[in-house]
């Protein structure tokens, strides 16, 4: 058990699907050799096939104390980027237009904004995902070389590039498929929760760049942090697929808006735009009570009562959303934190 635990809460009601977080992360961490298919932070449309595709169906995680088997995602599952046939630009309007080359067959967020039907109405929402920096990480347990460790000082799960031999048991074990294989280095890689930034008092790049201001970052054990309040005090944030048993430290405020045009006077659960069963699939049965509570807070605020919870969720400034505490987290040397 780590002495402190950094955590992130993402309010899915505020995500625009703009991918600014994805690009911030990509530019900072995975613009290297062998990393073209990696998005340590990705934003996928839900319902959808996800990234890597079908990651929520291919296995991993814990069941009855046992690591569950899983397929290794292929490069097509990640949807590696494609190039364009730029020579065709000279013929634009005459022959063929500039085409992707080779023909793309998949990509991250390939099914962008497709969503699904709920009755006659289409619905979708965005799900940003990073490594969950779990309290009971399946990846760590699966590695026979102890290349993955959880930093004692702040609970961030990192992968030692010196020890990794690229066996990829961790990729299979992670039920969220948030570890990636770099074939050029022959080693696996993952989100490092921007620990070098946190150590300097800067928030994670994905959070810093988010125009929707939907991310909250802080120590889960810091009673003054927004993440602590949202998870443990207001209890409006849940982990993704809690039944996978890894105890994630990334939490989501479930989406419950916007109301349908025709549902004036009805509660959001009577005539929801987003089918409750789908939210239960993602976040477990507790999601229902959270939606009821959030709707009550919203109604109360609409009636003129101030809501501390909604003010916190609005999170107008960085001071409200982020409580980075390098002074609380005494950085251990690598040897001290990892034997």
């Amino acid at each position: 058990m780590s002495r402190h635990q950094y955590a992130m809460v993402m309010d899915l009601n505020k995500c625009l699907g703009c991918q600014t977080c994805t690009i911030a992360c990509k530019k900072l961490w995975t613009d290297r050799d062998g990393t073209q298919h990696m998005y340590w932070n990705n934003v996928e449309t839900r319902p959808g096939i996800g990234y890597p595709r079908q990651w929520d169906h291919i296995g991993g995680g814990w069941k009855d104390g046992q690591l569950q088997p899983s397929k290794q995602p292929t490069l097509d599952d990640y949807g590696a980027p494609w190039e364009f046939d730029y020579e065709q630009r000279l013929y634009e309007g005459k022959k063929k237009p500039v085409m992707a080359s080779p023909d793309p067959i998949s990509g991250p967020n390939w099914d962008e904004d497709v969503g699904a039907l709920n009755g006659d109405d289409n619905f979708y929402f965005y799900l940003p995902r990073i490594c969950n920096h779990c309290t009971n990480p399946a990846c760590l347990a699966a590695c026979p070389r102890q290349a993955i460790y959880k930093r004692e000082e702040d609970g961030i799960v990192v992968l030692d590039q010196e020890r990794c031999e690229g066996y990829r048991y961790c990729i299979a074990a992670c039920p969220y498929k948030k570890i990636y294989f770099n074939e050029i280095t022959g080693k696996s890689e993952k989100c490092i929760f921007c620990y070098p930034r946190l150590e300097k008092g800067e928030v994670n790049a994905c959070a810093a760049q988010c125009p929707g201001r939907l991310r909250f970052v802080g120590l889960l054990d810091d009673p003054n942090s927004a993440v602590h309040k949202l998870v443990h005090v207001y209890k409006v944030a849940l982990p993704l697929f809690p039944e996978k048993g890894t105890l994630p430290n990334v939490f989501y405020v479930p989406p419950f808006n916007p109301p349908k045009r025709t549902n004036y006077g009805k509660s959001i659960l009577e005539d929801p735009r987003l089918p409750l069963e789908y939210l239960i699939y993602l976040f477990g049965p507790e999601v229902k009570s959270i939606i009821v509570r959030l709707e009550a807070e919203l109604k109360s605020a609409q009636n003129g009562t101030s809501s501390e919870l909604l003010q916190l969720l609005i999170g107008r400034d960085a001071e409200t959303r982020y409580q980075i505490r390098p002074q609380l987290v005494q950085i251990q040397s690598k040897i001290g934190g990892h034997s």
Binding site: D31, D33, H37, K71, T74, L75, I171, F181, E183
Partner: protein, 255 residues
């Protein structure tokens, strides 16, 4: 001295014995004798002194190899690493090994049948920093594993007949591993127990060819003295072999 190794036969007999097919015979007594730690007469490998240059024997198909006795060694599959993992099939039942001493080196030839050639040309990590470099090398696949082979031996001669753990040695008896990966080349490694394998940063000469469903591999090892135990391992990429998920032999005494 030429001595033929018979572990495959021994394994076969042991299997028959376990199934109750072999009654109390001299073979059984022989098996019981072979199981005592001090008598490993059934588990030994001969090496031949070769006058052929190392450079010639580095070609695993060199005709000179055929003059050296071949040992057919039974391969075992490691059990699944996790309880939820299905056991792997024994697709490669044996490896043929020849050992030759030339120019103060121990030369090893390994030949095994493998229906699939699992290898690739992988771009080298450029030495120039990636920042500002427009072209980055690309990951071609994320789910492939490559055929590999290794020879392991203890770093110090075993004392009192106690051989190191077959699982990558142990702290009192560290091992050296000559590891060849069909896509990533040769690497000299050291270990003192399972999960402790470390790359030394050194390589070693080796050559491999694959044709007609068969891998032929030649390695140049240090001058390992007689009496030392050797163990061999083979990884089959198409069976997703890596790490301890592999084929392995028992320790075999180098005569």
């Amino acid at each position: 001295m030429r001595k033929t190794c018979t572990p495959l036969f021994t394994t076969f007999l042991a299997a028959l014995f376990a199934m109750g097919f072999v009654a109390s015979t001299s073979a059984q007594q022989k098996l019981a004798k072979a199981a005592t730690p001090d008598d490993r007469s059934g588990l030994s490998l001969s090496s031949a002194d070769a006058t052929t240059p190392v450079q010639t024997l580095l070609n695993p198909l060199a005709g000179e190899w055929t003059k050296i006795p071949s040992h057919r060694i039974a391969l075992n599959r490691t059990p699944p690493l996790y309880d939820t993992e299905a056991p792997a099939a024994l697709e490669i039942p044996y490896v043929d090994v020849r050992l030759a001493r030339a120019e103060g080196k121990l030369m090893v030839q390994m030949i095994w049948r493998d229906a699939t050639q699992d290898t690739a040309q992988i771009a080298k990590l450029p030495s120039a920093p990636y920042e500002g470099r427009p072209h980055k090398e690309l990951t071609e696949a994320t789910d492939r594993f490559f055929d590999s082979a290794a020879v392991m031996y203890p770093q110090r001669p075993p004392t009192e007949g106690v051989w190191p753990s077959l699982q990558m040695g142990d702290t009192s008896q560290p091992v050296t591993i000559y590891f060849w990966n069909s896509a990533r080349g040769a690497a000299r490694m050291e270990a003192e127990g399972r999960g402790t394998t470390k790359r030394t940063g050194e390589s070693f000469p080796c050559q491999a060819t694959y044709h007609d469903g068969t891998w032929n591999l030649a390695m140049v090892l240090d001058n390992i003295p007689s009496g030392m135990p050797l163990a061999f391992a083979i990884w089959n990429g198409s069976q997703q072999d890596r790490d301890g998920r592999k084929y392995f032999t028992t320790w075999l005494k180098l005569e």
